[in-house]
Protein backbone atom coordinates (compact mmCIF):
# COMPACT_ATOMS: atom_id res chain seq x y z
CA UNK A 1 0.00 0.00 0.00
CA UNK A 2 1.45 3.36 -1.03
CA UNK A 3 1.22 6.29 1.31
CA UNK A 4 2.85 9.66 1.60
CA UNK A 5 4.76 11.02 4.57
CA UNK A 6 1.99 13.49 5.25
CA UNK A 7 -0.46 10.61 5.42
CA UNK A 8 1.78 8.71 7.81
CA UNK A 9 2.13 11.77 10.05
CA UNK A 10 -1.58 12.50 10.10
CA UNK A 11 -2.44 8.90 10.96
CA UNK A 12 0.18 8.66 13.72
CA UNK A 13 -1.32 11.74 15.35
CA UNK A 14 -4.87 10.55 14.85
CA UNK A 15 -4.12 7.29 16.68
CA UNK A 16 -3.14 9.29 19.76
CA UNK A 17 -6.60 10.89 19.94
CA UNK A 18 -9.29 9.10 21.94
CA UNK A 19 -13.01 9.32 22.31
CA UNK A 20 -13.82 11.92 24.98
CA UNK A 21 -10.97 14.10 23.74
CA UNK A 22 -11.67 17.66 22.72
CA UNK A 23 -9.15 18.40 20.00
CA UNK A 24 -7.77 21.87 19.52
CA UNK A 25 -6.34 22.23 16.08
CA UNK A 26 -4.83 24.72 13.74
CA UNK A 27 -4.69 24.56 9.95
CA UNK A 28 -2.92 22.19 7.62
CA UNK A 29 -1.82 18.82 8.85
CA UNK A 30 -3.04 19.40 12.40
CA UNK A 31 -6.59 19.85 11.16
CA UNK A 32 -6.20 16.78 8.98
CA UNK A 33 -5.04 14.72 11.97
CA UNK A 34 -8.04 15.84 14.02
CA UNK A 35 -10.41 15.03 11.18
CA UNK A 36 -8.72 11.65 10.68
CA UNK A 37 -9.19 10.74 14.34
CA UNK A 38 -12.85 11.65 14.19
CA UNK A 39 -13.40 9.69 10.99
CA UNK A 40 -11.30 6.67 11.93
CA UNK A 41 -10.64 5.82 15.57
CA UNK A 42 -12.31 8.40 17.83
CA UNK A 43 -15.72 9.23 16.38
CA UNK A 44 -16.87 10.94 19.58
CA UNK A 45 -13.87 13.24 19.78
CA UNK A 46 -14.74 16.88 19.24
CA UNK A 47 -12.81 19.29 17.03
CA UNK A 48 -12.57 22.88 18.05
CA UNK A 49 -10.74 25.98 16.92
CA UNK A 50 -9.29 28.93 18.77
CA UNK A 51 -11.62 31.19 16.82
CA UNK A 52 -14.53 29.83 18.85
CA UNK A 53 -16.01 27.12 16.62
CA UNK A 54 -16.87 23.86 18.36
CA UNK A 55 -17.68 20.60 16.59
CA UNK A 56 -17.74 22.11 13.09
CA UNK A 57 -19.11 20.02 10.26
CA UNK A 58 -16.12 20.25 7.95
CA UNK A 59 -17.48 19.54 4.50
CA UNK A 60 -14.43 21.23 3.04
CA UNK A 61 -11.01 21.73 4.54
CA UNK A 62 -10.54 25.22 6.01
CA UNK A 63 -7.42 27.13 4.91
CA UNK A 64 -7.24 29.06 8.18
CA UNK A 65 -8.87 28.67 11.58
CA UNK A 66 -10.77 31.84 10.71
CA UNK A 67 -12.09 30.28 7.48
CA UNK A 68 -15.90 30.42 7.18
CA UNK A 69 -15.79 26.64 6.71
CA UNK A 70 -15.26 26.19 10.44
CA UNK A 71 -18.50 28.10 11.16
CA UNK A 72 -20.81 25.68 9.36
CA UNK A 73 -23.08 23.53 11.53
CA UNK A 74 -21.05 23.93 14.67
CA UNK A 75 -22.43 23.15 18.09
CA UNK A 76 -21.71 26.78 18.94
CA UNK A 77 -20.17 29.76 17.20
CA UNK A 78 -18.48 31.72 19.94
CA UNK A 79 -15.32 33.74 19.96
CA UNK A 80 -11.75 33.66 21.16
CA UNK A 81 -12.74 34.18 24.79
CA UNK A 82 -14.86 31.04 24.67
CA UNK A 83 -12.29 28.81 23.09
CA UNK A 84 -9.41 29.69 25.37
CA UNK A 85 -11.65 29.56 28.44
CA UNK A 86 -12.59 26.02 27.39
CA UNK A 87 -8.91 25.10 27.62
CA UNK A 88 -8.15 26.97 30.84
CA UNK A 89 -11.42 25.79 32.46
CA UNK A 90 -10.63 23.09 35.06
CA UNK A 91 -13.50 20.84 33.95
CA UNK A 92 -13.40 20.94 30.14
CA UNK A 93 -9.69 21.75 29.96
CA UNK A 94 -8.74 18.31 31.28
CA UNK A 95 -10.15 16.78 28.10
CA UNK A 96 -8.37 18.98 25.61
CA UNK A 97 -5.63 17.73 23.32
CA UNK A 98 -3.75 20.48 21.52
CA UNK A 99 -2.06 20.04 18.16
CA UNK A 100 0.77 22.47 17.57
CA UNK A 101 3.62 23.24 15.23
CA UNK A 102 6.60 25.58 15.37
CA UNK A 103 9.79 26.82 13.75
CA UNK A 104 12.04 25.47 16.52
CA UNK A 105 11.74 22.92 19.29
CA UNK A 106 14.16 22.04 22.11
CA UNK A 107 14.65 18.79 23.99
CA UNK A 108 11.99 19.71 26.57
CA UNK A 109 9.33 20.34 23.95
CA UNK A 110 9.42 24.12 24.24
CA UNK A 111 8.47 25.83 20.99
CA UNK A 112 9.52 28.91 19.07
CA UNK A 113 7.16 30.40 16.52
CA UNK A 114 8.28 34.01 16.92
CA UNK A 115 11.78 34.81 15.65
CA UNK A 116 15.09 33.39 14.48
CA UNK A 117 17.95 35.53 15.67
CA UNK A 118 17.75 38.46 18.04
CA UNK A 119 14.23 39.49 19.02
CA UNK A 120 14.98 43.17 18.42
CA UNK A 121 16.51 42.66 15.02
CA UNK A 122 15.48 39.25 13.85
CA UNK A 123 16.98 37.30 11.03
CA UNK A 124 13.55 35.78 10.41
CA UNK A 125 10.27 36.86 11.86
CA UNK A 126 7.45 34.31 12.07
CA UNK A 127 3.76 34.75 12.76
CA UNK A 128 4.11 34.75 16.54
CA UNK A 129 2.26 32.82 19.19
CA UNK A 130 -1.33 33.12 18.05
CA UNK A 131 -3.10 30.72 20.37
CA UNK A 132 -0.04 28.44 20.53
CA UNK A 133 1.32 29.75 23.81
CA UNK A 134 -2.16 29.63 25.34
CA UNK A 135 -2.75 26.04 24.30
CA UNK A 136 0.70 24.92 25.42
CA UNK A 137 0.14 26.66 28.77
CA UNK A 138 -3.30 25.23 29.44
CA UNK A 139 -3.80 21.74 28.10
CA UNK A 140 -2.81 18.42 29.64
CA UNK A 141 -1.68 16.81 26.38
CA UNK A 142 -0.32 18.29 23.23
CA UNK A 143 0.90 16.78 19.98
CA UNK A 144 3.54 18.65 18.00
CA UNK A 145 4.21 18.45 14.28
CA UNK A 146 7.72 19.37 13.10
CA UNK A 147 9.97 18.99 10.07
CA UNK A 148 13.01 17.01 11.15
CA UNK A 149 15.90 19.38 10.49
CA UNK A 150 18.95 20.37 12.52
CA UNK A 151 17.98 24.06 12.51
CA UNK A 152 14.57 23.15 13.93
CA UNK A 153 15.59 20.71 16.70
CA UNK A 154 17.89 23.09 18.54
CA UNK A 155 19.97 23.21 21.69
CA UNK A 156 18.52 26.57 22.60
CA UNK A 157 15.45 28.30 21.22
CA UNK A 158 15.93 31.81 19.90
CA UNK A 159 12.62 32.67 21.60
CA UNK A 160 10.47 30.50 23.85
CA UNK A 161 6.98 31.17 22.52
CA UNK A 162 5.08 28.18 23.90
CA UNK A 163 6.05 26.36 27.09
CA UNK A 164 6.67 22.64 26.97
CA UNK A 165 8.49 21.19 29.98
CA UNK A 166 10.65 24.35 30.28
CA UNK A 167 13.88 23.08 31.90
CA UNK A 168 12.53 19.59 32.42
CA UNK A 169 11.76 17.73 35.64
CA UNK A 170 9.35 19.70 37.76
CA UNK A 171 10.09 23.09 36.24
CA UNK A 172 6.79 23.42 34.39
CA UNK A 173 4.91 23.18 37.64
CA UNK A 174 7.35 25.49 39.41
CA UNK A 175 6.67 28.15 36.81
CA UNK A 176 3.01 28.02 37.83
CA UNK A 177 1.66 25.96 34.96
CA UNK A 178 -0.63 23.01 35.52
CA UNK A 179 0.43 19.45 34.89
CA UNK A 180 0.50 18.57 31.25
CA UNK A 181 2.68 19.37 28.32
CA UNK A 182 3.63 17.77 25.03
CA UNK A 183 3.12 14.03 24.72
CA UNK A 184 4.67 13.49 21.32
CA UNK A 185 6.49 15.16 18.46
CA UNK A 186 5.65 13.83 15.02
CA UNK A 187 8.10 14.56 12.22
CA UNK A 188 8.75 13.48 8.67
CA UNK A 189 11.12 10.82 10.03
CA UNK A 190 9.62 9.48 13.22
CA UNK A 191 8.05 10.08 16.60
CA UNK A 192 9.58 11.51 19.78
CA UNK A 193 8.06 11.26 23.23
CA UNK A 194 9.08 12.63 26.62
CA UNK A 195 10.52 10.78 29.60
CA UNK A 196 8.11 10.65 32.53
CA UNK A 197 10.70 11.87 35.04
CA UNK A 198 13.28 13.97 33.26
CA UNK A 199 10.75 15.27 30.69
CA UNK A 200 13.51 14.95 28.10
CA UNK A 201 12.68 14.01 24.57
CA UNK A 202 13.47 10.44 23.45
CA UNK A 203 13.01 8.67 20.17
CA UNK A 204 9.99 6.40 20.39
CA UNK A 205 9.30 5.53 16.79
CA UNK A 206 10.84 5.57 13.33
CA UNK A 207 9.03 5.22 10.06
CA UNK A 208 9.81 2.16 7.94
CA UNK A 209 13.19 2.65 6.27
CA UNK A 210 14.40 5.40 8.60
CA UNK A 211 17.34 4.66 10.91
CA UNK A 212 17.69 6.16 14.39
CA UNK A 213 21.05 7.54 13.24
CA UNK A 214 19.36 9.47 10.45
CA UNK A 215 17.14 11.07 13.04
CA UNK A 216 20.08 11.98 15.27
CA UNK A 217 21.83 13.46 12.24
CA UNK A 218 18.94 15.83 11.81
CA UNK A 219 18.94 17.27 15.34
CA UNK A 220 21.26 19.65 17.15
CA UNK A 221 20.80 17.74 20.40
CA UNK A 222 21.07 14.08 21.28
CA UNK A 223 18.13 11.96 22.36
CA UNK A 224 17.87 8.50 23.89
CA UNK A 225 17.18 6.02 21.08
CA UNK A 226 17.05 2.88 23.24
CA UNK A 227 13.25 2.82 23.37
CA UNK A 228 12.64 3.10 19.65
CA UNK A 229 10.18 0.93 17.70
CA UNK A 230 9.06 1.03 14.11
CA UNK A 231 5.84 2.94 13.62
CA UNK A 232 3.02 0.95 12.04
CA UNK A 233 2.19 2.41 8.61
CA UNK A 234 -1.34 3.54 7.82
CA UNK A 235 -3.68 0.68 7.00
CA UNK A 236 -5.67 0.53 3.83
CA UNK A 237 -8.81 1.50 5.72
CA UNK A 238 -7.10 4.40 7.47
CA UNK A 239 -5.82 5.70 4.16
CA UNK A 240 -9.18 5.35 2.47
CA UNK A 241 -10.97 7.31 5.19
CA UNK A 242 -8.23 9.91 5.34
CA UNK A 243 -8.29 10.53 1.62
CA UNK A 244 -12.02 10.33 1.01
CA UNK A 245 -13.45 11.82 4.17
CA UNK A 246 -10.86 14.32 5.28
CA UNK A 247 -9.32 15.93 2.21
CA UNK A 248 -11.13 14.93 -0.92
CA UNK A 249 -10.20 18.27 -2.49
CA UNK A 250 -6.50 17.35 -1.90
CA UNK A 251 -5.69 20.73 -0.37
CA UNK A 252 -3.19 19.29 2.10
CA UNK A 253 -2.46 15.69 1.05
Amino acid sequence: MDYTLKEMMAIVAAREIRNEDIVFCGTGISMLAAMAAKNINAPESVIFFETGAIDSQLEELPLAVGDSRVMYRTSANGGLLDSFATMQNPITGKHVVGILGAAQIDKFGNLNSTVIGDYYSPKTRFSGSGGGCDVASFVPRSIIFMQHEKRKFVQKLDYLTSPGYLNGGNSRKEAGLLDGGPVMVITNLGVMRFDDTTKEMYLSGVYPGVTPQKILDNMEFNVDISRVKEEIPPSEEELRLLRDKCDNQRLIL
Partner: protein, 325 residues
Protein backbone atom coordinates in the same frame (compact mmCIF):
# COMPACT_ATOMS: atom_id res chain seq x y z
CA UNK B 1 -20.16 56.23 21.75
CA UNK B 2 -23.14 58.45 21.24
CA UNK B 3 -26.87 57.86 21.48
CA UNK B 4 -27.91 59.47 18.20
CA UNK B 5 -30.77 57.94 16.27
CA UNK B 6 -28.94 58.13 12.96
CA UNK B 7 -25.22 57.50 12.80
CA UNK B 8 -24.95 56.79 9.10
CA UNK B 9 -22.02 58.42 7.39
CA UNK B 10 -19.56 57.74 4.58
CA UNK B 11 -16.24 56.01 4.80
CA UNK B 12 -14.07 58.89 3.62
CA UNK B 13 -15.28 61.29 6.25
CA UNK B 14 -15.47 58.80 9.07
CA UNK B 15 -11.86 57.72 8.51
CA UNK B 16 -10.59 61.27 8.29
CA UNK B 17 -12.52 62.22 11.42
CA UNK B 18 -11.50 59.36 13.69
CA UNK B 19 -8.37 57.70 12.32
CA UNK B 20 -5.81 60.41 12.84
CA UNK B 21 -2.06 60.15 12.67
CA UNK B 22 -0.69 58.47 15.79
CA UNK B 23 -3.98 57.08 16.92
CA UNK B 24 -4.29 53.69 18.59
CA UNK B 25 -6.38 51.50 16.34
CA UNK B 26 -7.82 47.99 16.40
CA UNK B 27 -9.65 46.28 13.57
CA UNK B 28 -12.03 43.33 13.73
CA UNK B 29 -11.97 39.95 12.04
CA UNK B 30 -9.48 37.11 12.04
CA UNK B 31 -6.75 36.22 9.49
CA UNK B 32 -8.74 36.06 6.24
CA UNK B 33 -12.24 36.62 7.58
CA UNK B 34 -14.34 39.71 8.16
CA UNK B 35 -11.48 42.21 8.24
CA UNK B 36 -12.89 45.72 7.63
CA UNK B 37 -11.02 45.95 4.33
CA UNK B 38 -12.98 48.85 2.81
CA UNK B 39 -11.90 50.90 5.84
CA UNK B 40 -8.36 49.55 5.69
CA UNK B 41 -7.99 50.60 2.06
CA UNK B 42 -9.45 54.02 2.84
CA UNK B 43 -6.90 54.51 5.63
CA UNK B 44 -4.10 53.61 3.20
CA UNK B 45 -5.59 55.87 0.54
CA UNK B 46 -5.69 58.78 2.97
CA UNK B 47 -2.00 58.07 3.75
CA UNK B 48 -2.57 58.16 7.49
CA UNK B 49 0.69 57.40 9.25
CA UNK B 50 2.10 56.55 12.63
CA UNK B 51 -0.76 54.28 13.71
CA UNK B 52 -0.36 52.10 16.74
CA UNK B 53 -2.18 48.81 16.15
CA UNK B 54 -3.67 46.42 18.71
CA UNK B 55 -4.14 43.04 17.04
CA UNK B 56 -4.77 39.45 17.99
CA UNK B 57 -4.76 37.55 14.66
CA UNK B 58 -6.16 40.17 12.28
CA UNK B 59 -4.11 38.89 9.36
CA UNK B 60 -4.84 40.47 5.99
CA UNK B 61 -6.05 43.84 7.27
CA UNK B 62 -3.05 44.39 9.47
CA UNK B 63 -0.62 43.33 6.75
CA UNK B 64 -2.12 45.79 4.29
CA UNK B 65 -1.99 48.62 6.84
CA UNK B 66 1.68 47.85 7.43
CA UNK B 67 2.34 47.51 3.72
CA UNK B 68 0.61 50.84 3.12
CA UNK B 69 3.07 52.52 5.48
CA UNK B 70 0.39 53.48 8.00
CA UNK B 71 1.78 51.65 11.02
CA UNK B 72 4.65 52.56 13.31
CA UNK B 73 4.06 50.16 16.19
CA UNK B 74 2.00 47.11 16.94
CA UNK B 75 0.98 44.84 19.80
CA UNK B 76 0.04 41.51 18.31
CA UNK B 77 -0.36 37.79 18.85
CA UNK B 78 -0.23 36.47 15.31
CA UNK B 79 0.36 37.77 11.83
CA UNK B 80 -0.70 35.20 9.28
CA UNK B 81 -3.20 34.82 6.45
CA UNK B 82 -3.79 31.10 6.55
CA UNK B 83 -2.52 29.12 3.59
CA UNK B 84 -1.89 32.33 1.63
CA UNK B 85 0.85 33.59 3.93
CA UNK B 86 1.77 31.53 6.97
CA UNK B 87 3.51 34.69 8.16
CA UNK B 88 2.09 37.94 6.77
CA UNK B 89 4.66 39.10 4.28
CA UNK B 90 4.77 42.89 4.67
CA UNK B 91 4.61 42.41 8.42
CA UNK B 92 7.58 40.03 8.31
CA UNK B 93 9.57 42.47 6.22
CA UNK B 94 8.69 45.44 8.40
CA UNK B 95 9.76 43.65 11.57
CA UNK B 96 12.93 42.23 10.06
CA UNK B 97 13.90 45.63 8.73
CA UNK B 98 12.90 47.44 11.91
CA UNK B 99 10.28 49.63 10.25
CA UNK B 100 7.84 48.95 13.05
CA UNK B 101 8.14 48.39 16.76
CA UNK B 102 6.52 45.21 17.95
CA UNK B 103 5.31 43.76 21.24
CA UNK B 104 4.31 40.08 21.33
CA UNK B 105 1.42 38.60 23.30
CA UNK B 106 -0.71 35.49 22.84
CA UNK B 107 -4.17 35.51 21.28
CA UNK B 108 -5.87 34.92 24.61
CA UNK B 109 -3.86 37.67 26.25
CA UNK B 110 -4.75 40.19 23.58
CA UNK B 111 -8.40 39.18 23.83
CA UNK B 112 -8.32 39.49 27.62
CA UNK B 113 -6.78 42.92 27.24
CA UNK B 114 -9.71 44.08 25.11
CA UNK B 115 -12.09 42.41 27.55
CA UNK B 116 -10.46 44.26 30.47
CA UNK B 117 -10.87 47.53 28.60
CA UNK B 118 -14.51 46.78 27.88
CA UNK B 119 -15.16 45.86 31.52
CA UNK B 120 -13.44 48.95 32.83
CA UNK B 121 -10.82 47.10 34.87
CA UNK B 122 -7.08 47.76 34.55
CA UNK B 123 -6.08 44.12 34.05
CA UNK B 124 -7.22 40.52 33.83
CA UNK B 125 -5.43 37.34 34.93
CA UNK B 126 -4.53 34.18 33.04
CA UNK B 127 -2.11 31.31 33.38
CA UNK B 128 -1.02 31.62 29.76
CA UNK B 129 2.68 32.23 29.01
CA UNK B 130 4.15 31.41 32.43
CA UNK B 131 7.75 30.40 31.82
CA UNK B 132 7.83 31.78 28.29
CA UNK B 133 9.71 34.61 26.60
CA UNK B 134 6.41 36.45 26.14
CA UNK B 135 6.92 37.33 29.79
CA UNK B 136 10.66 37.85 29.74
CA UNK B 137 11.24 39.77 26.54
CA UNK B 138 9.65 43.18 26.12
CA UNK B 139 9.50 44.74 22.68
CA UNK B 140 8.70 48.20 24.04
CA UNK B 141 11.29 49.38 26.52
CA UNK B 142 10.27 50.49 30.01
CA UNK B 143 11.51 53.97 29.04
CA UNK B 144 9.28 54.12 25.97
CA UNK B 145 6.38 52.98 28.13
CA UNK B 146 7.03 55.54 30.85
CA UNK B 147 7.36 58.38 28.36
CA UNK B 148 4.01 57.77 26.71
CA UNK B 149 0.94 57.83 28.92
CA UNK B 150 -1.00 55.85 26.32
CA UNK B 151 0.99 52.74 27.30
CA UNK B 152 0.93 50.98 30.66
CA UNK B 153 4.30 50.96 32.43
CA UNK B 154 4.55 47.20 32.19
CA UNK B 155 3.97 44.80 29.33
CA UNK B 156 2.49 42.33 31.82
CA UNK B 157 3.26 41.08 35.30
CA UNK B 158 3.46 37.77 37.10
CA UNK B 159 1.84 37.81 40.51
CA UNK B 160 1.06 35.38 43.28
CA UNK B 161 -2.52 34.21 43.54
CA UNK B 162 -4.00 36.50 46.21
CA UNK B 163 -6.25 33.61 47.28
CA UNK B 164 -3.42 31.29 48.31
CA UNK B 165 -3.67 28.14 46.23
CA UNK B 166 -7.34 28.60 45.28
CA UNK B 167 -8.13 26.82 41.99
CA UNK B 168 -4.76 24.99 42.23
CA UNK B 169 -3.13 28.18 41.08
CA UNK B 170 0.00 29.63 42.60
CA UNK B 171 0.78 32.33 40.09
CA UNK B 172 -1.00 34.23 37.41
CA UNK B 173 0.03 36.51 34.60
CA UNK B 174 -1.88 39.78 34.63
CA UNK B 175 -2.25 41.63 31.33
CA UNK B 176 -3.10 45.34 31.11
CA UNK B 177 -6.38 46.64 29.66
CA UNK B 178 -6.61 48.18 26.19
CA UNK B 179 -8.95 51.01 25.28
CA UNK B 180 -8.17 51.74 21.62
CA UNK B 181 -8.83 55.24 20.38
CA UNK B 182 -10.72 53.65 17.51
CA UNK B 183 -12.00 50.19 16.68
CA UNK B 184 -13.33 49.43 13.20
CA UNK B 185 -15.47 46.36 12.59
CA UNK B 186 -17.15 44.95 9.54
CA UNK B 187 -20.41 43.17 10.39
CA UNK B 188 -23.17 41.50 8.43
CA UNK B 189 -26.05 43.62 9.70
CA UNK B 190 -26.47 46.97 11.43
CA UNK B 191 -29.13 49.62 11.78
CA UNK B 192 -28.90 53.40 11.63
CA UNK B 193 -28.47 53.70 15.40
CA UNK B 194 -25.61 51.20 15.31
CA UNK B 195 -27.07 47.97 16.66
CA UNK B 196 -24.87 45.24 15.17
CA UNK B 197 -25.25 41.59 14.32
CA UNK B 198 -22.35 39.34 13.51
CA UNK B 199 -23.11 36.02 11.83
CA UNK B 200 -20.87 33.03 12.40
CA UNK B 201 -17.90 33.45 14.69
CA UNK B 202 -17.52 36.80 16.41
CA UNK B 203 -13.75 36.31 17.07
CA UNK B 204 -12.83 39.11 19.52
CA UNK B 205 -14.93 41.75 17.78
CA UNK B 206 -17.33 42.33 20.65
CA UNK B 207 -14.54 43.00 23.12
CA UNK B 208 -12.69 45.19 20.64
CA UNK B 209 -15.91 47.12 20.09
CA UNK B 210 -16.81 47.71 23.70
CA UNK B 211 -13.30 48.69 24.75
CA UNK B 212 -12.95 51.39 22.10
CA UNK B 213 -13.20 55.10 22.73
CA UNK B 214 -14.70 55.39 19.26
CA UNK B 215 -16.34 52.58 17.34
CA UNK B 216 -16.86 52.61 13.58
CA UNK B 217 -19.06 49.97 11.99
CA UNK B 218 -19.12 49.02 8.32
CA UNK B 219 -21.83 46.58 7.31
CA UNK B 220 -23.17 44.47 4.49
CA UNK B 221 -26.80 45.29 5.20
CA UNK B 222 -28.00 48.52 6.77
CA UNK B 223 -31.51 48.62 8.23
CA UNK B 224 -33.21 52.01 8.17
CA UNK B 225 -35.90 51.08 10.66
CA UNK B 226 -36.21 49.09 13.88
CA UNK B 227 -36.05 45.67 12.22
CA UNK B 228 -33.15 44.58 14.42
CA UNK B 229 -35.20 45.15 17.56
CA UNK B 230 -37.14 42.04 16.58
CA UNK B 231 -35.28 38.92 17.66
CA UNK B 232 -32.70 41.05 19.42
CA UNK B 233 -31.12 38.02 21.10
CA UNK B 234 -28.99 37.95 17.96
CA UNK B 235 -27.55 41.43 18.45
CA UNK B 236 -24.11 41.28 20.04
CA UNK B 237 -23.28 44.99 20.03
CA UNK B 238 -25.98 47.42 21.15
CA UNK B 239 -25.94 50.90 19.66
CA UNK B 240 -24.75 52.61 22.84
CA UNK B 241 -21.16 51.68 21.97
CA UNK B 242 -21.22 52.91 18.39
CA UNK B 243 -20.08 56.25 16.93
CA UNK B 244 -20.64 55.81 13.22
CA UNK B 245 -22.18 53.37 10.76
CA UNK B 246 -21.19 53.01 7.12
CA UNK B 247 -23.06 50.93 4.58
CA UNK B 248 -20.26 49.05 2.79
CA UNK B 249 -21.39 45.98 0.85
CA UNK B 250 -18.44 43.67 0.17
CA UNK B 251 -16.67 45.73 2.84
CA UNK B 252 -14.60 42.75 4.00
CA UNK B 253 -13.43 41.85 0.47
CA UNK B 254 -10.96 40.22 -0.26
CA UNK B 255 -11.44 38.54 3.13
CA UNK B 256 -14.56 36.49 3.78
CA UNK B 257 -17.89 37.51 5.29
CA UNK B 258 -19.89 34.51 6.49
CA UNK B 259 -23.23 34.06 4.73
CA UNK B 260 -22.31 36.79 2.23
CA UNK B 261 -19.10 35.83 0.43
CA UNK B 262 -15.93 33.84 0.76
CA UNK B 263 -12.37 35.10 0.70
CA UNK B 264 -11.02 35.61 -2.81
CA UNK B 265 -8.20 33.06 -3.21
CA UNK B 266 -6.95 34.71 -6.37
CA UNK B 267 -6.70 38.17 -4.82
CA UNK B 268 -4.96 36.81 -1.74
CA UNK B 269 -2.51 34.81 -3.82
CA UNK B 270 -1.74 37.75 -6.10
CA UNK B 271 -1.33 39.91 -3.00
CA UNK B 272 1.15 37.42 -1.53
CA UNK B 273 3.14 37.44 -4.75
CA UNK B 274 3.26 41.22 -4.88
CA UNK B 275 4.04 41.53 -1.17
CA UNK B 276 7.30 39.64 -1.61
CA UNK B 277 8.78 42.35 -3.83
CA UNK B 278 8.90 46.09 -3.10
CA UNK B 279 8.50 47.04 -6.73
CA UNK B 280 5.55 44.76 -7.33
CA UNK B 281 4.05 45.93 -4.05
CA UNK B 282 4.21 49.55 -5.09
CA UNK B 283 2.43 48.59 -8.30
CA UNK B 284 -0.16 46.73 -6.24
CA UNK B 285 -0.76 49.75 -4.00
CA UNK B 286 -1.08 52.07 -6.97
CA UNK B 287 -3.40 49.86 -8.98
CA UNK B 288 -5.62 48.53 -6.19
CA UNK B 289 -5.64 51.37 -3.68
CA UNK B 290 -4.22 54.78 -4.60
CA UNK B 291 -5.60 55.00 -8.12
CA UNK B 292 -9.06 53.98 -7.02
CA UNK B 293 -11.52 56.36 -5.47
CA UNK B 294 -13.23 53.95 -3.13
CA UNK B 295 -14.07 50.32 -2.39
CA UNK B 296 -16.67 50.20 -5.15
CA UNK B 297 -13.95 51.05 -7.61
CA UNK B 298 -11.94 48.08 -6.33
CA UNK B 299 -14.95 45.82 -6.77
CA UNK B 300 -15.27 47.06 -10.35
CA UNK B 301 -11.62 46.29 -11.07
CA UNK B 302 -12.14 42.78 -9.74
CA UNK B 303 -15.32 42.44 -11.73
CA UNK B 304 -18.68 40.83 -11.15
CA UNK B 305 -17.69 37.59 -12.74
CA UNK B 306 -15.03 36.93 -10.15
CA UNK B 307 -17.15 38.24 -7.30
CA UNK B 308 -19.86 35.80 -8.35
CA UNK B 309 -17.50 32.88 -7.84
CA UNK B 310 -17.04 33.75 -4.18
CA UNK B 311 -20.66 34.52 -3.31
CA UNK B 312 -21.77 32.45 -0.34
CA UNK B 313 -23.80 29.34 -0.88
CA UNK B 314 -26.93 29.94 1.25
CA UNK B 315 -26.72 26.46 2.78
CA UNK B 316 -23.14 26.62 4.05
CA UNK B 317 -22.40 30.35 4.30
CA UNK B 318 -19.27 30.03 2.16
CA UNK B 319 -18.58 29.41 -1.55
CA UNK B 320 -18.73 25.64 -1.76
CA UNK B 321 -16.33 24.04 -4.22
CA UNK B 322 -14.49 27.28 -4.82
CA UNK B 323 -11.12 26.70 -6.46
CA UNK B 324 -8.77 27.43 -3.57
CA UNK B 325 -5.56 25.72 -4.72
Amino acid sequence: MNLKQNKETDLKSVISTYVTSGCHLSIGGFTINRNPMAAVYEIIRQKIQGLHIYAHSNGQGVDELIGGGCVSSIEIAYAGSGKFASTCIRFKKAVQENFIKIEDYSNYQMTLRFLAGSMGVPFLPTRSSLGSDIIKIWGFSPEMRKENSKFPNDKLKVMDNPFDNWCDTQKVVVVPAINPDVTILHVQEADLRGNCRIQGLSFADVEQAKSAKHLIITCEKLYKGDELKIDSDRTQIPFIHVDAVVHAPWGAYPTACYNYYDYDPRYLKDYATAAKDDGLYNDYLKKFVYDLNDHNALLKVVGDERLNTIKADPRTGYAANLDRR
